[in-house]
Symmetry: none
Subunit: 243 residues, 2 copies
DNA sequence: AGACTACAAAAGCATATACATGTACGTATA
DNA sequence: TATACGTACATGTATATGCTTTTGTAGTCT
């Protein structure tokens, strides 16, 4: 019985729409196994190759996961692109099999200075959360993380225990990132930074300034300082595998 | 006559590699019309549907442009993604309305050291091009650019005048980039680097190590050193607009 | 109990065929 | 001369068919 949309588009596009709609509206629950190709054939009255094309394109677009011999499943919310994930330092440390620990130096609500308020693109003055955390890899400090967070998007930021949950994980869970800006530079460590990171003042550090948006609203502004000799940012990117 | 690569991958992938290689090596000139699907069928002994899939995927990845009833053409070099474009320093300098100038320090063909040959993933020893260029913004050195280039993809690299054409522009024009790897770190300048960049030894520099691929072949390996106090890498990215 | 085997299910690959749609171009006709 | 038409060719879509590869499972043998 054919329930495909009645638009002027190729059949495989209709099938894609049909599937995406069923996922989007939640009619197919998140962890459910989708019908097999042959079941789709029976249900929609369309040839298997056409079903296959629709499923393949949805898979390469990241909406589905397919396992040969097993079935087709709805993909979990996407893991961020290479450009974004460079910030989840905790995951990186754990992935290397090392021990992670963090110390929360500051967690407060403040009125932003003029320049900071400007970066948040606030229409009128408003307070923001402010946190400073040091991240350790095997008890060696590798990153000093200073964040400013928009309370209108993440209201309970200052109630969290960031020695247990990484700020990154908490933020990713709370609000979807629709846009990211990165500015990377190399700077000598100032006295305070050097003290927190246990290095000499003037040592080379990698400074990553980051702003994230949720829709049109600036969600977070972060200043991440890495010890140059202990850290580097890597990414690998394939245009052909995502376009 | 079948000239497809002899790898253990599906046929349509081999066809894609075959086409990318022919584009990459310049065997098919930039503005040329590619063979029609049926001509590919005759030339490679592969069914039209398989050819079609290869061409369709290369088109959606941005390498080709197809016009129904007309033919298939090589796409103009793409406006790179945020992650890739951070390397076109010349364009950046000009975009800021500043003057650009470059000095070519080295341009030669060498036998790579063991480690470098390894990075190129060479099956057997083969020579590579080597260039070192300093880029100036308003007569102030901002970047030291050392590149190693695979001659099998870019055969005339050492015949170019890189004080006139930027190495980046030349490479982008000569071969499509299918994959990029970046490793960014902060390091103190060594004596020689410091001399070339007109800074004190030990000053903070941003080091960008970059590898690019064309198909399965490593095309270039670059080591870009930026003066920390005079430069930072920026990017802005919207996951939702490309995934 | 554990290991091996056989089979079934599901996705993946490749092909042949047919028709649809769009473009280019030459030729006939008003 | 300009329009209309026919033909050739190119890409796009849809289907049917047959095979391979991977994975899970149910039996079976030791």
């Amino acid at each position: 019985m054919n329930t495909l949309p009645d638009t002027a588009s190729p059949l495989y596009e209709k099938v894609k729409d049909y599937i995406l709609t069923n996922i989007g509206t939640g009619r197919w629950s998140k962890d459910r196994k989708l019908p097999s190709e042959n079941e789709f054939v029976a249900a929609l009255g369309v040839s298997r190759m056409t079903i296959h094309r629709a499923l393949r394109e949805l898979t390469s677009a990241g909406f589905l996961i397919r396992l040969q011999g097993v079935g087709t499943f709805i993909a979990p919310p996407r893991p961020q692109s290479a450009l974004i994930e460079i910030n989840n330092i905790v995951a990186e440390i754990l992935a290397r099999g090392n021990k992670h620990r963090s110390e929360v130096l500051v967690l407060e609500k403040i009125m932003p200075a003029k320049e900071l308020a400007l970066s948040f693109e606030f229409a009128r003055r408003s307070s923001v959360y402010h946190s400073v955390v040091v991240n350790f890899e095997n008890d060696l400090p590798v990153q000093l993380e200073e964040r400013f967070v928009n309370p209108s998007l993440i209201p309970d930021y200052d109630k969290q225990d960031f020695s247990k949950t990484a700020t990154y994980d908490y933020l990713m869970q709370k609000t979807p990132v629709t846009e990211v800006e990165h500015i990377i530079s190399a700077i000598p460590a100032d006295a305070e930074t050097a003290r927190h990171l246990g290095i000499d003042a003037g040592s080379c550090c990698l400074l990553l300034n980051r702003r994230t948006w949720t829709g049109a609203i600036v969600a977070t502004i972060s200043k991440l300082t890495y010890v140059g000799s202990r850290y580097s940012l890597g990414s690998r990117y394939s245009p052909s595998k995502s376009g």
